[in-house]
């Protein structure tokens, strides 16, 4: 177990090669899955606990769920993209590579938990969510490191990795958007475990960017305008 954890932590190239060759990957995949579930659940617990323990437990369940659903939905798209762009990776190898990449990301999230905890203690809601988003971004870089090492260098890697990132963004974003709230706004007295569906997250992102520029459109207006 420690040996495999060491490979996940410090030897992404070796992990990628094991996946690519599909050699003894089952133990590595099991360790990666366990790491992913535990680390992201702990991250969710700390993030949600900035509101209360009930929200913390809900987020501890929802965050690993987001990862697992997103992985399951991204894998077919990644397989199609890789095959179309001429990389002959097998589905099994790709799924293992993805799982290991995300488990490495969750390890980075786990490592940066003290930062989140400190922010939760001293900062307000918006700052905490910004810190959490920043940590997720940093962990994404760690995941990308594994993914890139899984493919032999070729100019086609540039569009491939770009498309991987795009698919990951739209799939994970929508999954997370559907399972929100993860923290819950402080102004709300009663935070539900799951919110009712409210359009797609890409529209919400657009509205958020407009709000950041000082242009405020309410959700109702956006829905009426087809957003």
């Amino acid at each position: 177990m420690w040996k495999r954890l060491g490979i996940l932590c410090s030897q992404p190239a070796v992990a990628a090669r094991y996946c690519r060759a599909e050699e003894n990957i089952l133990p590595l995949v099991k360790t990666a899955l366990l790491t992913l579930l535990i680390c992201s659940a702990v991250f969710g617990l700390v993030l949600g606990s900035t509101r209360d323990l009930e929200q913390g437990i809900a987020t501890a369940v929802k965050l690993p769920t987001v990862w697992v659903i997103a992985l399951g939905l991204c894998a077919p798209a990644y397989y199609a993209i890789a095959a179309i762009l001429g990389d002959g990776i097998r589905f099994r190898a790709l799924a293992a590579l993805l799982l290991i990449a995300v488990s490495r990301a969750s390890l980075v999230m786990f490592a940066l938990l003290p930062v989140l905890w400190l922010a939760a203690d001293v900062a307000d809601y918006h700052q905490v969510t910004s810190v959490a988003a920043f940590i997720c971004g940093v962990s994404g870089i760690a995941a990308l490191g594994v993914l890139v090492r899984g493919f032999a260098w070729h100019p086609r890697m540039v569009p491939m990795v770009t498309l991987f990132g795009l698919v990951f963004f739209v799939v994970t974003g929508q999954t997370a958007w559907s399972l929100r709230p993860f923290v819950g706004r402080p102004s709300q007295t009663d935070v539900p475990v799951l919110r009712a569906p409210e359009g797609v997250f890409l529209d919400a992102t657009r509205l958020g960017l407009q709000s950041a520029r000082g242009i405020y459109i309410s959700n109702d207006d956006a829905i009426r305008n087809g957003g």
């Binding site: 420690w2 040996k3 954890l5 060491g6 490979i7 410090s10 030897q11 190239a13 070796v14 990628a16 090669r17 094991y18 690519r20 060759a21 599909e22 050699e23 003894n24 659903i69 399951g72 939905l73 991204c74 077919p76 798209a77 990644y78 397989y79 199609a80 993209i81 890789a82 095959a83 179309i84 001429g86 990389d87 002959g88 990776i89 097998r90 589905f91 190898a93 790709l94 090492r149 899984g150 493919f151 032999a152 698919v167 739209v170 799939v171 929508q174 999954t175 958007w177 559907s178 569906p197 409210e198 359009g199 797609v200 087809g226």
Partner: protein, 221 residues
């Protein structure tokens, strides 16, 4: 590649360290055996099973794209559970694969006739290979995108948004497949004059128009 022993892991709060045994040598090459999709894509054999595999993947991928997101919309109540016409409900997932097949094959005999007039005979079987590869590419991309689209359909996207994105996926993947098809057709020519290349490119433009026509006729009925 030489396997190196990783550093030991130190347990927090204790002086005990767990020595890390060296992992078994990792495979030298990053390229393992090829996946099924790539095998089907790169195979140059004029094998019936290869063609069947490509056509089945194409059919399955496009049927999924045409069938799963609307089914998800029905499950969440964004669309009525049935149109009242059983035949139309059964036919609906098959609209996209039929549109794609018609788009690719409807105008092809004309192209071959015109090519032969310009003395541009393609290599034997190259056209069959190019057609089955194009259908396969289209279906494979559709297969990859469908799970994400289904997620969006299940989690709050409107019916119009899903239909628009489905068509965007279809035309995007179709454009990609068509570009590769035209390139393969050009490569398969025994002689390639500017007139032949211009004819193939013009035919590609016509196929784009034709694909829009078939989608309007078959999907928006």
């Amino acid at each position: 590649m030489q396997a190196t022993s990783p550093p030991p892991i130190f347990l927090p709060g204790s002086s005990i360290s767990i020595p890390m045994p060296a992992p078994s040598p990792a495979p030298d090459s990053t390229i393992g055996s090829e996946g099924l999709a790539t095998m089907l894509l790169v195979s140059a054999q004029d094998d019936r099973r290869v063609h069947q595999g490509r056509l089945l993947w194409g059919l399955a991928g496009l049927t999924m794209l045409g069938g799963l997101p609307p089914l998800a919309l029905r499950l969440v109540g964004q669309l009525p559970s049935t149109t009242g016409n059983v035949l139309a409900d059964l036919f609906q997932p098959l609209r996209l694969p039929i549109a794609a097949a018609l788009t690719l094959t409807f105008a092809l005999p004309g192209l071959l006739v015109l090519l032969s007039m310009l003395e541009g005979q393609p290599r034997p079987n190259a056209v069959t290979q190019a057609i089955s590869r194009a259908y396969f590419r289209l279906g494979l991309l559709a297969f990859g995108i469908t799970p994400a689209l289904t997620l969006y359909a299940l989690t709050g996207a409107s019916a119009g948004w899903i239909q628009g994105t489905t068509l965007l996926t279809y035309f995007g993947a179709g454009g990609f497949a068509l570009a590769h098809f035209l390139r393969e057709l050009c490569d398969a020519m025994q002689q390639r004059t500017p007139a032949i290349v211009a004819l193939i490119l013009g035919w590609g433009g016509f196929v784009c128009v034709l694909s829009v026509y078939f989608v309007i006729k078959l999907v928006f009925v």
